[in-house]
């Protein structure tokens, strides 16, 4: 039987505010435990919350970027459960009146653009952190992260494959980075997701039974978990079994999901309105003002690259896939006026190198100035394009400027006609067979001779000149 995959995602992104959601403690990530805490975020008796205006604004911006309706009336609720990382034993979140609703984003898949619904975005606080590995019989609790503002973005079950799920996550990440409301640093836990997976026989209207996996903290893990669950569901159904409605734990090391130890009680979070926090009426002027402050979104930037810089759609898509990369590209453009050439190098070499060396786009060490200087060396014929690629790698490794590397390694292109002529004559002498082949009409032999010439100069020969001189020499021989 053919199955259709149905995936819904919940993305939790920490907002990059200065302070926590409900108190003035710094929200930054710090390793030293319990240093960013106060009576409020430790839920000491008698303390009261005060909501961070910027957190609300960031959540609204996320809502605007994801094409949501911004609620005119919104308030905070309490979600009750006991866990040591949750000091009040309730999380301040939004259940009954979320801030943003009914949005969507368009994602680019191999089958073209797909529109994925966003059910809602709500504001909430993060929990603290448990440290399990320090002692054998005890765990430690660090409340630095307790109360850091988060948004939870809930998608409609519109995703139809793990691959779409992955693209959705990357698109969300890139949008949040663009509008500068979240660092989206997965390694620091500032972006996490829950995945809901079900499958159904193709053509069936009702959804299949879904399983949920919480707190996946890398896109790779999320993608693998989705793929695993899809296979697991299908194989259960194929064998005539029944998928259980359950929460599962993904073990990324083993590449498997496991049922969570089921607790006998139904999961009842006993949501109810938080009377310590007053409601918020989000007026239109505020939203308009925030809209004006919003930076260009990835999709808008992509359009602009196509229109203004005449870049192919593919190039524009790759360059705007992350804010850092697009910013890098545009900074290069201010120094060097050939968008297509920059694009070729960025997409080809820079992305290859960053991928090989596992460098984040934010952390590209070669400055736009260094990089465009390199492009100029190639343009001016001082080095060849292929040498340029090696020089770029060296620049990443050493941090040195291109011309320093060219100088130190003696990579300057040989463009002296006399010098090249001498080398070429020697190559012709050493390869009589190829010369004969060429003369007897096998034009391919030309390529071989160019290659030999480049080899003799260790790549430094100016390729245009080599071509030109070789042709002249061979044609001269022919006439004889």
């Amino acid at each position: 039987m053919e199955y259709e995959v149905v995936i819904g995602l919940e993305v939790h992104a920490e907002l990059s505010t200065q302070t926590k959601l409900l108190c003035g403690c710094a929200a930054e990530f710090v390793r030293e435990p319990n240093t960013h805490c106060c009576p409020v975020c430790l839920a000491m008796p008698g303390t009261l919350p005060r909501i961070n205006k910027r957190a609300v604004e960031y959540a609204i911006k996320a809502g605007l970027a994801l094409n949501c309706d911004i609620s005119e009336y919104t308030r905070m609720d309490r979600k009750h459960y006991f866990y040591p990382d949750l000091p009040k034993a309730y999380q301040v979140t939004q259940h009954y009146h979320p801030l943003c609703k009914n949005g969507y984003i368009d994602i680019e898949t191999e089958d073209g653009v797909r529109r994925i619904g966003i059910t809602q975005i709500h504001l909430e606080e993060d929990a603290g952190k448990l440290i399990h590995d320090q002692y054998e019989t005890e765990s430690l609790v660090d409340y630095n992260r307790s109360g850091v503002p988060l948004i939870e973005i809930v998608s409609e079950p519109d995703l139809r494959s793990p691959e779409e799920g992955r693209i959705f996550l990357e698109t969300i990440k890139s949008i949040l980075e663009y509008i500068d409301v979240s660092d989206c640093k997965m390694e620091e836990g500032s972006l996490r997701c829950d995945v809901n997976v079900s499958v159904r026989p193709k053509g069936q209207k009702e959804y299949g039974v879904r399983s949920e996996m919480k707190n996946l903290n890398s896109f790779r893990a999320a993608h693998r978990a989705m793929e695993y669950e899809v296979k697991r569901h299908i194989s259960i159904l194929e064998e005539g079994g029944e998928v259980l409605r359950e929460t599962r734990r993904w073990d990324d090391n083993l590449g498997k999901s496991f049922p969570m130890r089921t607790k006998e009680e139904a999961n009842d979070y006993r949501y109810f309105p938080d009377a310590d926090i007053v409601p918020m009426y989000i007026d239109k002027e505020w939203v308009t003002k925030l809209k004006e402050e919003m930076p260009e979104l990835p999709s808008e930037r992509r359009e602009r690259y196509i229109k203004e810089y005449d870049l192919p759609e593919y190039d524009a898509g790759v360059l705007t896939s992350s804010k850092a990369l697009a910013d890098y590209f545009e900074e290069c453009l201010t120094l060097y006026d050939d968008p297509k050439n920059i694009s070729n190098w960025v997409m080809g070499d820079i992305l290859r190198i960053t991928k090989e060396k596992d460098i984040a786009h934010e952390d590209i060490s070669v400055t736009p100035k260094q990089f465009t200087d390199l492009l100029r060396l190639v343009d001016e014929g001082i080095i060849s394009g292929s040498i340029g690629k090696n020089v770029l790698e060296d620049m990443f490794d050493t941090g040195k400027d291109a011309d320093t590397i060219v100088e130190e390694k003696g990579l300057k292109q040989i463009s002296d006609e006399g010098e090249l002529l001498e080398i070429i004559r020697k190559v012709l002498q050493d390869n009589p067979q190829s010369v004969e082949d060429y003369l007897s009409g096998k034009k391919k032999a030309m390529g071989y001779l160019v290659g030999q010439t480049m080899r003799a100069t260790r790549g430094k020969a100016n390729p245009q000149m080599v071509n030109k001189i070789l042709k002249e020499e061979l044609d001269g021989l022919k006439e004889k």
Partner: protein, 485 residues
């Protein structure tokens, strides 16, 4: 005359005239505590040493001819659910028996700024859940008028300490009547200000949407003076109001001519103790005599108030109580292996039975299955109750009723929780509607126990109830009588 018997305004005058020193006054009150505390058990903590140090500071100010505030040098008792920096704040619960807050409640900050002197932390029903102070985990406070009887609750220690002259005034908190009912049982003036008039920051929450801090005093003038000091916007409590604060002493006028006093239909019917009813009737007649107009009003949804109150108060309480898990502060069970055991043993051993009962009821009514029928329904009926009062205050200036259906009952008398809850029947509507309400002495029953009169005002109209109360006080002498100890 013994200094501990003074009111705030009397003591203030003597201090200003340098006829007494703050130290003398504090020593007198401390001596009184020494004499009667064994009988009354009003305090969980007595801060004698700090109090004397603070008194010396006030005396220096006076010596330097610095102007002093109305509360400077005045010894006060503070209910043990109001956080005091470096002084144990226990909520009369084993859960917090060793909790020392690293911060002051906003009201304490304000009173310290006025140089009022903290003399001790007053006993209460555990986490303010109760109407008799019998639910304290530590001790049972006695009513100074009859030590076989309860002082009321939950601010029983606050009321008893003032009635027994162990403090010149005290602070209590009122979620469903916890200031007014003990004030009534102890023959004192107790004010529940408008919700949001006084900051809740540092008040250990029972029910966030209902809790208010207020004074318990020997007379109405003192009540206005304390309110002046504690009222007003606090940025730490976003539910506190930015409405401008009046000088409440300007309301202390002996005049109710033209006042329209509403008496709700049915409030003085069947379930009321005869002697209480008698005193209330007399109070109504006195007001009429003084030129007020008595107006019959209807509060059609008042009979639902108690049910609404217990649903909302318990729902919010179950949530406020969730944080007591034995991890960051407070009691922690000794014998546990797993996290679940730590939670369950800590909470079962740390909380008393009334607290557990209300946590259970609260969690019940906000569970998914019961939310709509009970909790949401209660929030909606709360709206109807509030609207009843809005309509009533279109016609009247204040609303009059008994504070409690009975005078102080005997310890152990009311065992059934439901019967206990019913004693809050006159006080909870003001909490549900956020309205200010005052209780003041209006007579004694045949057993010599005080009876309290409640006046409810419109939102932020504390001045009218203070004026009506002051006028009543000026024309009666119930507030002057003291218990014999």
């Amino acid at each position: 005359m013994e200094l501990y018997k003074l009111t705030i305004h009397e003591a203030n005058e003597l201090l200003r005239k340098k006829e007494i020193s703050a130290k003398q006054l504090t020593e007198s009150v401390l001596k009184r505590i020494e004499q009667v505390e064994d009988k009354i058990d009003a305090f969980n903590t007595i801060t004698a040493e700090k109090a004397l140090e603070e008194a010396e500071v006030v005396d220096k100010l006076i010596a330097q001819n610095e102007g002093i505030s109305s509360l400077a040098g005045i010894p006060m008792a503070v209910k043990d659910n109001i956080c005091t920096l470096d002084v144990k704040t226990t909520c009369s619960s084993n859960m917090l028996k060793d909790f020392i807050p690293p911060y002051d409640a906003t009201v304490i900050e304000r009173l310290k700024r006025e140089n009022a002197i903290l003399i001790g932390k007053a006993n209460m029903d555990e986490f303010a859940m109760g109407s008799s102070t019998e639910n304290s985990a530590f001790k049972k406070t006695k009513n100074p008028w009859d030590i076989e009887r309860v002082p009321g609750g939950s601010s029983g220690g606050s009321a008893a300490s003032v009635a027994a002259d162990q403090a010149i005034f005290s602070l209590g908190s009122d979620t469903g009547g916890s200031i007014r009912q003990p004030a009534s049982f102890c023959g004192l003036v107790g004010l529940k200000p408008t919700y949001g008039r006084v900051s809740r920051y540092g008040l250990i929450a029972l029910a966030s949407s209902l809790d208010v801090i207020g004074p318990i005093t020997k007379d109405v003038t003192d009540c206005a003076l304390v309110l002046n000091a504690v009222a007003g916007l606090d940025t730490k409590d976003v539910t506190s109001s930015s409405n401008p604060v009046d000088d409440y002493t300007t309301a202390l006028k002996d005049n109710v001519k033209g006042f329209k006093i509403g008496v709700p239909e049915g409030f003085l019917d069947n379930n009321l103790d005869d002697e209480v009813k008698n005193s209330i009737d007399k109070a109504i007649k006195l007001y009429e005599k003084l030129g007020a107009e008595i107006v019959d009003i209807k509060l059609p949804h008042a009979e639902y108030a108690l049910a609404v109150y217990y649903i909302i108060a318990c729902a919010e309480a179950s949530s406020s109580m969730a944080r007591y898990d034995g991890i960051r502060y407070g009691y922690r069970a000794e014998d546990y292996k797993t996290l679940e055991e730590l939670y369950k043993k800590t909470r079962s051993e740390g909380f008393g039975s009334e607290v557990k009962r209300r946590i259970m009821l609260g969690n019940f009514v906000i569970s998914a299955d019961y939310y709509d029928d009970y909790y949401l329904k209660a929030l909606k009926v709360r709206t109807l109750i509030k609207e009843d009062f809005v309509k009533a205050f279109e016609k009247v200036d204040v609303i009059l009723s008994p504070t409690s259906p009975t005078s102080a009952f005997k310890m152990g008398e009311k065992r059934d929780p439901m019967a206990m809850y019913l004693s809050d029947i006159y006080t909870v509507p003001a909490n549900l509607s956020g309205l200010p309400a005052i209780s003041l002495p209006c007579g004694f029953d045949s057993k010599g126990l005080p009876i309290g009169l409640q006046l409810i005002g419109d939102l932020f109209d504390e001045k009218k109830i203070l004026q009506a109360a002051y006028t009543f006080e000026q024309n009666t002498d119930y507030h002057i009588k003291k218990p014999i100890l």
